[in-house]
C-alpha cells in the first residue's frame, strides 16, 4: 500500500553494540523489532514505533536509541507535518482521530507563571526536619458553625469527613483503561500513604474488594459496576460528570479490552463495548444532579461524602456554585491538560480551560457567595510536581488528584497511545503477556516513594513561607505572585504580579 506520510520515529540500532539477543523483539508489542529470515539477525521497522522507550530501557547492551524521524517538509507554519499527517490518516480511513493522555499543545501552563513566597526577617521560616509540619487534610462539608455543651462536648452533628495524611490523591483511572496490576499498585500505595485511589468508571475488581475503604468509587453515566455494596464499600463516592481531557463527551471502552477480568469488574459480558453516554440520562439539570447526589446519600445512609467531578469549562465557576448548592460535599475540577486512556484528538486538544484559571475562579465564586466551606475542592489535570501542588492549594484547592504523574512513576513514558491497548509497560493494556510486566509490589513502592518525596517538598516550601500547617496556605493567594502575566490573567488568578 502506498504510504502518504513518514513514520513518527526512527529506531537507531548501534551495530557495534547489538548482540542480536532478541530482547527488543520480545519487548515490543508494536512488533517494531523482528528477526531476519536467518532467525539470528535482529532488524527493525520504524512505522509502528510510538517511542515508548521500552526497548531502549531494556536493551542489555545499550544499543538502541529512538529519535524523531527526520524528513523535512517544505516549511510552513500553517501546514505543519502534524497537520498534514492527520489529514492523511483521515483520508485513508474516514475515522475520528483518537489520541491518549493529556492535551500536548503548547498552551500556557500557569503553574510555571506563578512564584511562591518565602519568609525573610519579619517572620521566621521553619525547618520541617526539626519542627512539626501539618499536611493532614480533611475532605468533606464543614458546618457553618460549631456548638458545644457547657462541658465542651460537640453538639453539632458533623457531616462525614475523609482524613488524608497527604493532600495528594490518585485520580480516576478505570480497570479496563489500565491493568489490574496497576490498580493493585495504586490501591496498596494509597493504603500505605494514608490516601485514596479512584476506581474510575470501571467498577472495583473482586480481588480488590478489601481495598474499598481506600477507594473513591465512581458513578459515571454508564453506571458500570455500580451497586449498593460497591457504593458502601468506599471512602467516598464520585459522580463523574466530565473529564478534563474530553469535556462534554462520554467514554468508550472497546470490546477488545473487555476480557473476563474487566467483565467481572464492570459487570458486562466479555467482548462487549462499554459505552458511557455523554450525559447521565437521569441528570439534565442541577436539580436532577441534586436528586442523584441525595439518592447516593440515601443508599449509604449519609455515611459517605459525595463528590462531583466536572471538567474545567468556560462557566465552571457558576457550575461549581450550582453543584455545591445541589449538596455535593466535594467538587473535583479537572483541567484540559488532564490525562485519558482515549479521547478524540480534536476534543483533547481544543476543549476546556486550564485548571489554574478554573480553580481560581471557582474558589473565588464560592467565597463571594459565602459557601466555600460547604465543599472541599479537588484540583486535577495535571499537577506535575510538589510545587504545582503547593500552588494549587494556595489558589484554593483542598487537595489535588494525580494520575499521569503516578503512571510515569510506574513506567509510563507518555507515548500517548494508551488507546491502542499495546502498552509495553503493562499499564494501559489488558494483554496478559504485557500486564505481567508490571510488578504490583515494585510499582507500589515507586508510588509510595513519589508521594513521600512530594510530601517532604511540600513541607519544605511551607516551612520556607513560615507556615507550619497546610490549612494556613489554603486559598492564601498572597503567597503567590505572577510572572509574565497580563492584568487580566492576574485578575482571574486573583494574584499580584511579582514585585508588587
Amino acid at each position: 500500500m502506498m504510504r502518504y506520510f513518514q513514520p513518527e520515529f526512527h529506531i537507531v540500532r548501534d551495530p557495534a553494540r547489538c548482540i542480536h539477543c532478541g530482547c527488543c523483539v520480545r519487548q515490543c508489542a508494536n512488533e517494531c523489532h523482528y528477526f531476519d529470515e536467518d532467525g539470528k539477525t535482529v532488524l527493525c521497522r520504524d512505522e509502528s514505533c510510538v517511542s515508548c522507550q521500552r526497548c531502549v530501557c531494556l536493551c542489555p547492551t545499550g544499543a538502541l536509541r529512538i529519535e524523531k524521524f527526520k524528513s523535512d517538509y517544505r516549511e510552513s507554519a500553517v501546514w505543519t507535518q502534524q497537520v498534514q499527517k492527520e489529514i492523511c490518516r483521515q483520508a485513508s480511513t474516514g475515522g475520528t482521530l483518537l489520541s491518549a493522555m493529556g492535551n500536548p499543545k503548547p498552551y500556557p501552563i500557569y503553574w510555571d507563571h506563578m512564584l511562591l513566597n518565602a519568609s525573610q526577617v519579619t517572620n521566621p521560616s521553619i525547618d520541617p526536619l526539626r519542627e512539626p509540619m501539618e499536611i493532614r487534610t480533611f475532605l468533606g462539608r464543614k458546618p457553618d458553625r460549631l456548638s458545644f455543651t457547657k462541658d465542651k462536648k460537640l453538639l453539632t452533628e458533623m457531616p462525614p469527613q475523609i482524613k488524608l495524611e497527604t493532600p495528594i490523591l490518585f485520580s480516576a483511572m478505570s480497570f479496563g483503561s489500565i491493568s489490574l496490576n496497576a490498580h493493585r499498585a495504586l490501591s496498596a500505595a494509597a493504603k500505605e500513604l494514608g490516601t485514596l485511589f479512584n476506581t474510575g468508571e470501571g467498577g472495583l475488581h473482586p480481588d480488590l474488594h478489601d481495598m474499598g475503604q481506600y477507594a473513591v468509587v465512581q458513578v459515571a453515566s454508564g453506571r458500570f459496576g455500580v451497586h449498593k455494596d460497591y457504593l458502601n464499600n468506599s471512602a467516598f463516592i464520585e459522580i463523574k460528570i466530565g473529564q478534563g481531557a474530553k469535556p462534554g463527551i462520554g467514554g468508550h471502552l472497546p470490546g477488545e479490552k473487555v476480557n473476563v477480568e474487566v467483565s467481572n469488574a464492570r459487570m458486562i459480558p466479555v467482548g462487549s463495548d462499554a459505552i458511557s453516554p455523554a450525559p447521565h440520562h437521569d441528570i439534565y439539570s442541577i436539580e436532577d444532579l441534586r436528586q442523584l447526589i441525595w439518592s447516593l446519600k440515601e443508599v449509604t445512609e449519609g455515611k459517605k461524602p459525595v463528590c462531583v467531578k466536572i471538567a474545567a469549562v468556560h462557566n465552571c465557576a457558576a457550575i461549581v456554585s450550582g453543584v455545591a448548592r445541589a449538596g455535593a460535599d466535594i467538587i473535583a475540577i479537572d483541567g484540559f491538560r488532564g490525562g485519558t486512556g482515549a479521547a478524540p484528538t480534536r476534543i483533547r486538544d481544543n476543549v476546556g480551560i486550564p485548571i489554574e484559571l478554573a480553580l481560581a475562579s471557582a474558589d473565588q465564586r464560592l467565597r463571594d457567595e459565602g459557601i466555600r466551606s460547604r465543599v472541599s475542592l479537588l484540583a486535577a489535570g495535571p499537577t506535575r510536581n510538589a510545587a504545582d501542588v503547593v500552588k494549587a492549594i494556595a489558589l484554593g484547592a483542598d487537595a489535588v488528584y494525580i494520575a499521569s504523574a503516578a503512571l510515569i512513576a510506574i513506567g509510563c513514558h507518555m507515548c500517548q497511545t494508551c488507546n491502542t491497548g499495546r502498552c509495553n509497560w503493562g499499564i494501559a493494556t489488558q494483554r496478559e503477556d504485557l500486564t505481567r510486566r508490571l510488578n504490583p509490589e515494585i510499582a507500589k513502592e515507586r508510588l509510595v516513594n513519589l508521594v513521600t518525596a512530594w510530601n517532604h517538598e511540600i513541607k519544605e516550601m511551607l516551612g520556607g513561607m513560615g507556615i507550619n500547617s497546610l490549612d494556613s496556605l489554603r486559598g492564601n493567594r498572597l503567597m503567590l505572585r505572577g510572572i509574565g502575566l497580563t492584568e487580566k490573567e492576574l485578575s482571574v488568578l486573583g494574584i499580584r504580579h511579582a514585585g508588587e
Binding site: 472497546p254 463495548d273 459505552i275 440520562h281 440515601e298 443508599v299
Partner: protein, 244 residues
Amino acid sequence: MKITAGLTPYGELNRQVREALETTDTVTLENVNGQRYIGCGLDAGKTVTIYGTPGNDMACYLNGGRVEVFGNGQDAVGNTMSGGEIVIHGHVGDALGYAMRDGEIYIEQGVSCRGGIHMKEFGKMKPAVVIGGVAGAFMGEYMAGGVIVILGLGKKPEDDLFGSHCATGMHGGKIYLRGAYPEHHVSRNIAVSALNEEDQKELDGYLQKYCAYFGADMEEIKSVPFVKFTPESSRPYGNMYTAN
C-alpha cells in the same frame, strides 16, 4: 407493618422504613405524597407496598427487594437497580430503569421518555421491563442487554407504540413489540425479526406475570402478533476511530 406517610419529609420517612425493616420483612406505606427514594437499595427478602404517589428515584439501587405501587410512579423508577421486582399499578414518568442490571419491572400502563436507557446484563443477571401501555421517546437508548416488552394495551388509534429515536445506539438485548409500531421512529442499527421458539418462551414468562399482576387477559394479549428488535451489531461504533 403500616406507616402513614402523609407529609413526612422523605429522609424521615425512609429512616422509618429502614428501621421497620430491621424487625419485619414487609412494610406498607399509605397516603404517600411524592416522597423520594422509597425502597432505595432494598435488599432481597424485603417488600415495600405503597399506596399513593411515590416520588422520584423510587427503588433506586434496588438490591433484590420487591416494591409494589398502587398508584402511579414518577421519574427514575428503579434507577441503577441490581435486582428485585417493581410492580406499578398505573403509569410512570421519565428515565424508567436507567442502567438496570437485573430484576424485573412491570408497569400496568405507559411510560414517558427515556425508558430502559442503558439496560445491561451480566452472567445470570438479565433485567426486564414490561410496559402495558405505550412508551415515549428514546426508549431503550444505548441498550446493552436485557429485555423490554411494550404491549400497547388500551392504545388510542392516534398514539404510537413508542416515541422518536427508539433504541438509538442499542448494542445488546431485545425489545419485544406487540402490534403495529411507528417504523419512522426506529433507529438505523436495529434488526426487526419474528420471534423464535426461545423468544416466545421467554416472552410468555413475562406476559404471564403481567396478567397475574394486573388481571389482563393472556389470550387477548397474544391475539396480536409480536416482533423483536435486536441490534444489528454489538459494536455500533467499532469503526469510528483512527489512531492518531
